[in-house]
Amino acid sequence: MVLENQDNRNLWEKIGDFFSANSIWMKWYCTGCGAIELPPTMTSRFDMERLGMGPMATPRQADVLLITGYLSSKTLRRVIYSYEQMQDPKYIVAFGSCTINGGIYYDSYATINQLDKYIPVDLYIAGCMPRPEGIMNAFADLITMIKKGQANGWRHYQENYEWYKQNQLDSLKEVIIHDEFHE
């Protein structure tokens, strides 16, 4: 189901977007400290499932990848892997300061600063870390965006794949995952 330009979605695409919007599965991946506010969001106090959202164990099944805060370059390699394993349409929600401009770790030798250089971000949430209310509202916004066909980061990634790859390589040197046995 390759969509064309968003402005002229056909009926099927609109229906598809309706379903996409109302059933968002998030990748269960805690990349940074913002993830500590995800359990409250998912569980009884804030009950994210009311929005049709739920955690998923593998990237294949997930629709949205949450970048919950800072990303060390080691994690970024995994995030890129995960993101590329996800099936279209897919979205990225970035939590908190760190994803926008490095946050408190702006001068760290291990963390990246600007997430949108490496993967396309559909929505940012302010805060360090964002409160569950912020996360919930972000998801509500994401739903609206999807319904209106505005969450097109994944398409941008496809179209500008070379640019993203180059940035990834510039910062990470190689996007290969090594294992700990060193064999």
């Binding site: 940074g32 569980t43 408190i104 760290s108 409160r131």
Partner: protein, 369 residues
């Protein structure tokens, strides 16, 4: 049979945080395991050398996201030792209030955490919702839910808001009723017993070999090795509490010890509320001048307190300038999270890997820093 290489994590629902264990399995049995930390590495120890003594206040809680307050406490305590500053009496009690509330929060979450690897999500849902009520109180006291930045060198940052102690004791009353329900649901459950009883052992000699502290140590060797008792800080020597111990450290014993510690924390909190001075200053200056120019006299100190996972310490070196010369962090879960996994996860089943992490209390951000 051929051994299969598996990456358990970092993106694996059974993982606690952004952590990974690479392993070879034969069937379901783990044959080799290598912990892979570093996904959360931010270079804190370097960054702290580049921030003001006061500016580090924003940095330190972020070392361990699940229990940030201990970081503030060890940092403040270390600086006070170096600067030879006596903290006002009321600040000590407020610190205990914060620390024990934090211990409650993380223990309740840890109790709920047993639901993740065993699949009984109901208790996870309950526990985290319950913990959120504690976070609400934290927000009222400190102004933030998670990163409180409240315990500062020289005391605490602000006076307690009016009426907060009543709210805390109301919450404690509620917990008295609610926490036993968790035990009914989980710790008495026959299948939970099947999963963690006599499983995930941590014998006493392994404790000493790895250097495991905290609940893992106390439930294995049966001694009250708790820094709150052994080296009382704040005003822990003025409250009565027991340190739950056991002589047999399987997963279930550790969970039960954790469960008992919750009630000890509640007991401490009740005494804190009762004994806290009503009036008084809560902060003294550790240095003269504006915060931009605060200095700490040259010297080195190892400041350690009892976190929910054991001995948590900062080794602080000052050269008398506005910034620390070096701060090294002893993550409480460093021993069991690294060498423990490499040596003693072997022989368990895959199913036990995340239970290992859970009952041992492995906190990845404090290992990675």
């Amino acid at each position: 049979m051929k051994e299969v290489k598996l990456f358990l994590g970092p993106q694996h629902p059974g993982m606690h945080g952004n952590y990974s264990v690479h392993m070879y399995v034969d069937g379901d049995i783990i044959k080799k395991a290598r912990p892979t930390p570093g996904f959360l590495h931010r270079g804190f120890e370097k960054l702290m050398e580049r921030r003001l003594w006061m500016g580090n206040l924003a940095l330190i809680p972020r070392i361990c996201v699940v229990e940030p307050d201990i970081n503030e406490m060890v940092y403040a305590q270390g600086i006070e030792t170096l600067a030879n500053v006596e903290v006002p009496e009321k600040a000590h009690w407020i610190r205990m209030l914060i620390l024990e509330m934090a211990r409650l929060a993380i223990h309740i979450m840890g109790l709920g955490g047993i639901g993740g690897p065993t699949g009984m999500y109901t208790i996870t849902y309950w526990a985290i919702a319950q913990r959120d009520l504690i976070l609400d109180l934290f927000e009222e006291i400190t102004g933030a839910r998670v990163y409180h930045m409240y315990i500062v060198p020289g005391g605490v940052r602000k006076q307690l808001p009016v009426g907060i102690l009543d709210k805390v004791s109301k919450l404690l009353d509620e917990l008295d009723v609610k926490i036993p329900e968790y035990k009914e649901l989980a710790l008495k459950h026959p299948i939970i017993h099947k999963r963690i009883k006599d499983n995930i052992m941590l014998p006493a000699d392994v404790v000493w070999e790895l250097g495991v502290t905290g609940i893992g140590m106390r439930s294995a060797i049966g001694k009250e090795y708790d820094l709150r008792k052994v080296q009382p800080y704040a005003r822990y020597d003025q409250v009565e509490f027991d340190v739950p111990i056991a002589n047999y450290s399987d997963g279930l014993t550790r969970m039960n010890t954790k469960y008992k510690e919750i009630f000890q924390s509640i007991r401490i909190l009740r005494q804190v509320i009762e004994k806290m001075p009503k009036e008084g200053e809560v902060r003294t200056r550790v240095s003269t001048g504006s915060a931009l120019r605060w200095t700490v006299p040259a010297g080195m100190v190892y400041s350690a307190i009892e976190s929910s996972r054991g001995e948590y310490g900062y080794f602080i070196v000052s050269d008398g300038k506005e910034m620390p010369y070096r701060i090294a962090v002893r993550g409480a879960s460093f021993p069991q999270g690294l060498l423990g996994i490499e040596k003693y996860l072997v022989g368990h089943r895959i199913d036990d890997a995340s239970l290992w992490m859970d009952t041992m209390g492995v906190c990845s951000p404090e290992i990675d820093r």
